[in-house]
Symmetry: C2
Subunit: 199 residues, 2 copies
Amino acid sequence: MSTNLIIESITRHIRLSNEEKEHFISLLQPKIYKRKDFILEDGQVCKYSYFVTAGCLRGFTVDHNGFEHVLNFAPTGWWIADMYSLLTQKPGILNIEALENTEVLLLSKSRQEKLYHDIPQFERFFRIITENSLVSYQQRLIDNLSLTAEERYHNFCRRYPSLINTLPKKQIAAYIGVTPEFFSRMQRQMLTKGKKQQD
Amino acid sequence: MSTNLIIESITRHIRLSNEEKEHFISLLQPKIYKRKDFILEDGQVCKYSYFVTAGCLRGFTVDHNGFEHVLNFAPTGWWIADMYSLLTQKPGILNIEALENTEVLLLSKSRQEKLYHDIPQFERFFRIITENSLVSYQQRLIDNLSLTAEERYHNFCRRYPSLINTLPKKQIAAYIGVTPEFFSRMQRQMLTKGKKQQD
DNA sequence: CGTCTATTTGAATGTACTCAAAAGCGGTGG
DNA sequence: CCACCGCTTTTGAGTACATTCAAATAGACG
């Protein structure tokens, strides 16, 4: 069953009866995207929270020079959405794209709200994961203000260990905030610096 | 009564009876800090959420070169805490300092949890403000990856209009992520560019 | 195989930084 | 009230990290 993962990740934070689990599952819609499919585009209103059960998505923006900046990756077991758009129901600035063939579970905003009403424990669950998410964006912001590109790369590796060798380097560069050219030179330097670990 | 502001800011999001309001108020401890006092220091465990009723605080980190980076300001009507430390109850990396004489209301972690239990509406309230906070840190991260220092300064002005003329420029520089020297040159340039607004 | 994209390399450039020093500003005590 | 002190802000000159643009190479996919 493809819903094991999501249930497991929820019950790490809150306790649910079997009926509650089933009710929750009944609100989800499974969906499959192919590599390079767009789950959400810049300017659209985000109507779902997405939970990745297999594959990988990325959330990114495009700046006024046409450069992409990666806000987050969502490998298996992660949630993703354009939070701004989802909360306000206004057009967002985030693009969400499949980096490979990816299976997701969709939870619509209206069903999520219904869920808060039906099973108040979910209010707590989403509060907790939002809190954790907040902390990591705060930390990433501090890192972008304090650390060198190389140190930010190491943080990327700690955060997304499964992606280090699967992701195009261009995407990693767009996440840590450097150009692909600079990222390439940086990696060469890291090798010659005696640190022969490829993370 | 110094609690009008906090009640008003809460009831913008959730509905409370008078008894609930009073119960909530009873959990708060007022406290006064003087300019330059530290509310929280790097390495301590954060035990409270702080709501500013007058004055202004700032949350900042110090990097391994001794440079300060401002995560957030908390003028009147804003909450502040070291979320990482508050959630995990481990030593944090944030310093919180009073930029002027400041009055705050303290809500201890244990009382906050009790509050979730006593008045589940507060679970919702803190979920909502955490969501909003998340969105703005995401946006700020994107801005740091996409925008010039000048554009980031304009965003600072939109976010903290009340602080533009009261805050030492050094603090603004540490928020937008440039050196005080560069910020000074930047402002001179902005004037000569014909944009004579001082925001 | 050929095409398209990703990655690497090179050379020149620029934005923001470092270090040093001067100028401004505010508060405190004599 | 003025003088001094400490801190902030500005200015100058040299520097470095990361970028831009261009081109070559390598990989992936149909």
